[in-house]
Amino acid sequence: MIEGIPIQHFLIVSTLMFFIGVAGFIMRRNLITILMAIELILNSVNINFVIFNRYLYPDQLQGHFFAILVVGIAAAEASVAIALIINIYRKLKNIDVENVNELRY
């Protein structure tokens, strides 16, 4: 559709982004990096939205709008998360996720 590029290529990119994001979320220690990993996951989903919209219903725009909505929510989420991280830093003097383990039985 987009000048001979098959849909699989886009999907491979988004899948890779998704799993990189998941791996980063699970493995990185730094809270900021974890936040970036979440952004990766969200953006991989955005790619899927846009691409499927483009390939399946080229004359409609729902997928695009949904992607924009996700971007907006991601921005809000990032601001809240960074506020939390700043507070964690003030309390613990670092932002290592393994130190944030007060909330348990």
């Binding site: 979320f25 699970i26 493995m27 996720v97 393994e98 944030v100 383990n101 007060e102 348990r104 039985y105």
Partner: protein, 635 residues
């Protein structure tokens, strides 16, 4: 023309709300006066309604059924709707007069009788509630509205019997009355359901149409060899028997005398207990045309109750209990008269007699109870062995009480004579056995009433705490008014006012019945005069001679004990306890088990909660992957 009739029940309702919510902030007497004034207005309106309805000039035709007000309340289907409204026909107009008259008299009387009692405002609030419910019941346009007010009446009766709630016996009596009548109302409800299932309507106007078209569906329906209509009407009668305390559901009424005496006069003598009679009379057309077998049941139960209660009344010492059993006996009369009645013209004599007796009985029985209240007020005891020679101290009470006794004994030309005579004539035409029973009861009635009278007003003076004195005017005026009504209400032309087919018919004095019934009444009075006028040992000797028979009667044939045995020993032990066990161990046990298992399991696995965000995320992703693999693999 009759638009104002909706005010008749609404005024007491407003009075109930006002005195109930604000009464405690006022002086007690203000609540009393307010309630009395409101009821006075209702009374005047009822009298106006009755005069315009009965004497407003449509004599040639049958009396019309008028519905001046009706509002839709619930809709089940096109035809099956529950409405709330006002229905005026001869019997409901007559009942309006009875209820408001007695209630008004009781309101005035209570100003004196309840003076200075704790909870005076509460008493007036409840009286208004009761009057509202009773009026709503009387003017019901459909059987469901009647049922709703029927229950409201039961609640207000419960509240008023238990008025002295510090007394354990009053609490027990109120519970007993409520449970027994509720049990009977279960039958009433099932009866209503069967009736509305067959006819697809609740409206009295359609149900009591003599052509019976709505009952076409009922043909061929039967259960256990008895037709569906008979079942329905017997079950409806069960509700009526509960409220009217017919045997075997009579046990609550004597205990209900724990309530204040004006309440006994209003609820348990004149108005609420005739609701059952009113119900049967209201549905009389249905009984007569669709379920004549059920009508036989009504007649025999009424007859038996009247005899049974009259026998017990002879042996009781509590004056209010004597009156309670007398009420039972008279209610039995009314039920019997309905049971033996036919439809149309002179055939409908029994119906007319029953309603007539309902009217006169309301007057003289309320008078008897209010008189008894006046006596109790003077000597502070309910027992006739604490009384004697009171005629010197309570002249007005004495005269009015004597009039009431003569009326109930059927001495002409007082009102009781006329109504009782009509009942006896109706019974004679229908069923010789029931006539014989009623004839005997007429004698017994005269005897026990005059036993009461002579014991209270004649004989030796007792040692009273203080000299008994006549009650205040607020109490004696109702007595005089009711005595007047008892004397003269017999001359009301009931045969052209309230009849089964709403048409006029002629009655005449049936000398063959009237003379013997008066004679047996006089015989009863004479016997009582011989035995009780002067203090003597004769009654005790007779009682001793009768031995077991006397003790059994004195203990009301042990019906309370039998009921207690059945409930405590049989129902509690063999039904309630197993069910309670099942509930406690199986139903509750299941729930407790779920809780216990959850608690144990979570205690074991709580170590998995590490607080490490990435630990959780890993678990989540791994679980999602496994689920995805499983789905892909198996789908």
């Amino acid at each position: 023309m009759y638009n104002y009739t909706i005010l008749i029940p609404m005024i007491p309702l407003v009075m109930f709300l006002v005195t109930g919510l604000l009464g405690m902030k006022w002086k007690p007497i203000i609540s009393g006066l307010l309630g009395t004034t409101g009821l006075g207005i209702s009374w005047v309106l009822s009298l106006m309604t009755a005069i315009t309805y009965f004497f407003g000039g449509h004599h040639a035709e049958a009396f019309p059924t008028i519905i001046p007000f009706e509002t839709l309340w619930l809709t089940f289907s096109e035809t099956l709707q529950i409405k709330m409204g006002v229905l005026l026909d001869p019997i409901s107009v007559m009942m309006l007069v009875v209820v408001t008259t007695i209630s008004f008299m009781v309101h005035i009387y209570s100003l004196g009788y309840m003076h200075g009692e704790k909870g005076f405002q509460r008493f007036y609030a409840f009286l208004s509630l009761f009057t509202f419910s009773m009026l709503g019941l009387v003017i019901a346009t459909n059987i469901f509205q009647m049922y709703i007010f029927w229950e409201l009446v039961g609640v207000s009766s419960f509240l008023l019997i238990g008025f002295y709630y510090q007394k354990p016996s009053a609490v027990a009596a109120s519970k007993k009355a409520f449970i027994v009548t509720r049990f009977a109302d279960l039958g009433f409800l099932i009866g209503i359901l069967i009736l509305s299932f067959i006819t697809k309507t609740f409206d009295f106007g359609i149900l009591t149409n003599p052509d019976g078209a709505v009952f076409a569906n009922a043909a061929g329906l039967s259960f256990m060899g008895v037709s569906a209509m008979t079942w329905a009407m017997v079950l409806v009668f069960m509700g009526g028997a509960g409220k009217s305390a017919m045997f075997p559901l009579h046990i609550w009424l004597p205990d209900a005398m724990e309530g204040p005496t004006p309440v006994s006069a209003l609820i348990h003598a004149a108005t609420m207990v005739v609701a059952g009679v009113y119900l049967v009379a209201r549905l009389f057309v249905v009984y007569h045309f669709q379920a004549p077998d059920a009508l036989e049941v009504v007649a025999y139960i009424g007859g038996f109750t009247s005899l049974f209660a009259a026998v017990i009344a002879i042996t009781q010492y509590d004056i209010k209990r004597v009156l309670a059993f007398s009420t039972l006996s008279q209610l039995g009369y009314m039920m019997l008269a309905l049971g033996v009645s036919g439809y149309g013209g002179e055939e409908g004599l029994g119906y007319m007699a029953s309603v007539f007796h309902l009217f006169t009985h309301a007057m003289f029985k309320a008078l008897l109870f209010l008189g008894a209240g006046s006596i109790i007020h003077a000597v502070h005891s309910n027992y006739m062995y604490d009384m004697g020679g009171l005629r010197k101290y309570l002249p007005i009470t004495h005269i009015t009480f004597l009039i009431a006794c003569l009326t109930i004994a059927g001495v002409p030309p007082l009102s009781g004579f006329f109504s009782k005579d009509e009942i006896l004539v109706a019974a004679l035409e229908h069923n010789k056995l029931l006539f014989a029973v009623e004839f005997l009861v007429a004698g017994l009635t005269a005897f026990y009433m005059f036993r009461l009278y002579f014991n209270i007003f004649w004989g030796k003076d007792r040692h009273y705490h203080h000299t008994p004195h006549e009650s205040p005017l607020t109490m004696t005026i109702p007595l005089m008014f009711l005595a007047f009504a008892s004397v003269f209400s017999g001359f009301l032309p009931f045969h052209s006012l309230v009849t089964a087919d709403k048409m006029h018919f002629d009655t005449h004095l049936h000398l063959g019945v009237a003379v013997p019934s008066v004679l047996i009444g006089l015989l009863g009075i004479a016997l009582a005069w011989l035995l009780y006028k002067k203090e003597s040992k004769t009654p005790e000797n007779i009682a001793r001679k009768l031995g077991v028979l006397y003790t059994a009667t004195y203990n009301k044939f042990y019906f309370d004990e039998i009921y207690l045995f059945i409930t405590r020993k049989i129902i509690f032990n063999y039904i309630s306890r197993p069910i309670a066990w099942f509930d406690r161990h199986i139903v509750d046990g299941f729930m407790v088990g779920i809780g216990t298992v959850t608690e144990k399991v979570s205690y074991r696995i709580k170590g998995m909660q590490s607080g490490q965000l990435q630990h959780y995320a890993f678990m989540f992703v791994a679980g999602a992957l496994i689920l995805a693999l499983v789905l892909v693999y198996y789908m």
